[in-house]
Amino acid sequence: MTKDSYLKELRDNLYQIPQEEVNNIIQYYAEYFDEAGADNVQNVIRDLGSPKQLADKVTADYFGGNMPEVELKSKKHINVWLIVAAVLGAPLWIPLVLAALIVALALVIVMFALVVSFGAIVLACAIGGVVMSFASFAVMFSDAATGILLLGIGLVCLSITILMVFATIGIVILIKKLYALIFKKNRNVEG
């Protein structure tokens, strides 16, 4: 292994550490190789251990016991038994996953329907309220009682409109929060 391929593999294995610190680490060991001299590359590698071993040691120290993820056997190799279990268990988990997806879809549809129907009510009450109020003026002079009734209904419609506007805004905010909650949760799981 050459100095450069060692350092590259070391960098790859330091994936859990922030870039800035990784750069410091690589600089330190690159300098170490340079100081030891071109003749000593293999000696240095022997003393440092494999890039993976060195990376594990540096990473463990960096996190001081609070590792963000449990030490993986190896990220690149897939466990054969995992695949066998997945295939054998398919009749179980496939329908479950489908069911979960359908429930999620149903929730989305419900929320959408809520927003749409609230919006419809707002629209209907707004139009109704305005029309009623104007109509009431038309009748007011011929039939005061009816006129007042229509005006009253119109004003009630308008106030319902205002209430529903607030309700719709509330529902939209709620949906946004749920959305953020779900997707924030997912990000934590991926680490």
């Binding site: 330190y28 060991y29 300098e31 100081e35 003393d47 060195l54 040691k57 540096v58 120290d61």
Partner: protein, 100 residues
């Protein structure tokens, strides 16, 4: 060696070397290795931690076309070294009382 080097002791070794002179990673490692058999991979974590704890600071000096990162002990580092030396004296005394 019969006995293991504990974390604090390695801190003390590093700080003690730096107390005499600023130096860079390779020389530091070689100096300590002359006396105590440590693995090269042990030193970087110690240096990083001491730097985080402000016991030492680093500065770069170009040398023959490349860069050398020098480590320098701070006031806080000198205090820490004294604390570690006192701790070692106590520890030495206690163990001596028991095993002799």
């Amino acid at each position: 060696m019969v006995y293991q080097l504990s974390a604090g002791m390695l801190d003390a070794c590093v700080l003690s070397v730096l107390e005499k002179n600023d130096t860079y990673g390779y020389v530091l490692t070689q100096n300590i290795k002359e006396v105590i058999d440590i693995s090269e991979s042990s030193l970087y974590p110690v240096l990083r931690r001491l730097q985080n704890e402000k016991c030492l600071l680093t500065y770069d000096q170009p040398f023959g076309g490349r860069n050398r990162r020098y480590y320098k002990i701070t006031e806080l580092g000198i205090d820490r070294l004294k604390y570690l030396r006192d701790g070692w004296d106590d520890y030495k005394q206690c163990i001596d009382k028991v095993i002799y």
